[in-house]
């Protein structure tokens, strides 16, 4: 059915429906046909093999929290899943749906970008795997074609010499939409920063990596001064808007604060 879809108005995959059902009911219109991916048992589950973690498209946010292995292989994703919505939404919402809704405030996307995740897209004509970095092309747009289903998300098991953090700045602790979401990943090699990924949520048309901030750190020995410079670069690269949750100016300030804090915490945990 999805294989025949030319536009998202013909056929849409339904994950948990926590976005789609709300949208359909608010607008009174929806795709002509829905295909329930959320209930495909074969697409639900987490496997860890050959140094790669793979989660199926029907895997829910609660599945992430309730799998004790995830603390080892994706602690940063667990941090995010932990502050995601309320229990009933977590029990229903899929990780794939969080990516596919394309919201700049989607909470699982910054940690997945920090982990260096890729997504597998499948259509009638075959399958391709693309990095999540570059998957989004703008506000709620992506490289996924209407006839493609996101079937899996995968990332390399982080090495021992790496650390990662996520922080969601919301108006309250429980069940709030993110004003700024930041996730960082750092690995060290011979005393210098090896891999650095800094992902920013809700401060641009889509969740994005701050490549300029990453470049500041890469290959250098970590120091407070270097971290401050990286945080400045991330702030300069973010393009937040004003909305009912926060002003753009406030968001920019928070990018500086959070990138600095999370990089410091990550590097401290490695020393």
């Amino acid at each position: 059915m999805i294989a025949k879809a030319k536009t998202a108005n013909d056929v849409a995959p339904l994950g948990g429906g926590t976005n789609l059902v709300v949208e359909m009911r608010a607008s009174g219109v929806g795709p002509a046909t829905l295909v329930s991916v959320g209930q495909l048992a074969g697409l639900r589950g987490i496997t860890i093999a050959d140094g790669t973690v793979t989660i199926g498209a029907a895997t829910t946010v609660s599945d992430i929290l309730r799998d004790p292995r995830m603390k080892q292989v994706a602690a940063v994703l667990v941090e995010s899943a932990d502050v995601f919505a309320g229990q009933m939404i977590r029990n229903t919402a899929t990780v794939a749906g969080n990516i596919c809704c394309g919201s700049p405030a989607a909470d699982l996307v910054p940690p997945l970008l920090a982990l260096g995740a890729s997504v597998t897209l499948r259509s009638g004509s075959g399958e391709r795997t693309v990095p999540l970095d570059g998957y989004f092309t703008g506000y709620k747009t992506s490289v996924r074609k209407p006839d493609e289903l996101l079937t899996a998300i995968s990332w390399p098991v982080p090495t021992a010499k790496s650390a990662s953090r996520f922080y969601k700045l919301g108006r309250r602790r429980g069940d709030a939409i993110t004003m700024v979401g930041v996730s960082v990943f750092v690995s060290l090699k011979d005393g210098v920063c090896d891999t650095v990924r800094i992902a920013l949520g809700a401060v641009g048309p889509c969740v994005m990596r701050s490549k300029k901030a990453e470049a500041v750190m890469q290959g250098k020995a970590p120091s407070a001064d270097l971290i401050a410079k990286a945080a400045q670069a991330a702030t300069a690269e973010s393009t937040p808007i004003d909305d009912i949750r926060a002003s753009g100016e406030y968001r920019k300030e928070q990018v500086q604060v959070l990138v600095q804090r999370l990089l410091t915490q990550s590097l401290e945990s490695l020393s």
Binding site: V21, V22, S62, L65, G86, Q87, M88, I89, R90, D175
Partner: protein
């Protein structure tokens, strides 16, 4: 998109055949067939008043399309316990003043039951905040609800240990 189809649904251990439109939510279906103990608050996943268990897992029925339920058993608050034979959580909520107007109570208890089954049978205050963060109450200020959850969970453990 609004085709109708007859579905076989299991609500509180009773199997029934119900004609359901493809765009109907489980909340609408349940209330239509008389399960009005499932409350309708916001219809957008914010309040948790409509929570039911699907195979023991709490979901917001207002965000669940009935056609996606499949063979999963549906449990509403009435399926957990009744006035004559209350569930330990219902007793604790009643005795500790955790229900004022009572509108949020079915959802609160359903979410609690799901948390106790899937997350922890021995919740502390943080676990309770986490498990009930999708349930809003405009009356109690939540502290009595936390007390009732602690008390109810304890009663459930004692019942379990006595078996």
């Amino acid at each position: 998109m609004t085709n109708r189809k007859t579905l076989k649904m299991t609500v509180n251990d009773t199997v029934r055949n119900v004609e359901v439109a493809t765009n109907e939510t489980l909340l609408e279906t349940l209330r239509r067939v008389g399960a009005v103990e499932v409350k309708c608050g916001c219809e957008k996943g914010d309040c948790g008043a409509c929570a039911v268990l699907l195979d023991g897992m709490a979901v917001d029925s207002c965000l669940t399309l009935t056609h996606t339920v499949g063979t999963r058993a549906i449990t509403t608050i009435k399926g957990l316990g009744t006035a004559e034979a209350p569930h330990p959580l219902q007793t604790a909520f009643a005795e500790l003043g955790a229900a004022q107007c009572g509108y949020c109570t079915p959802g609160m208890i359903i979410a609690t039951q799901s948390m106790l089954t899937h997350d922890t049978a021995t919740p502390d205050e943080n676990d309770i905040r986490h498990g009930l963060s999708g349930n809003l109450c405009r009356c109690t200020g939540y502290t009595k609800i936390y007390d009732a959850v602690l008390e109810g969970a304890k009663a459930m453990r004692e019942t379990e240990a006595a078996k």
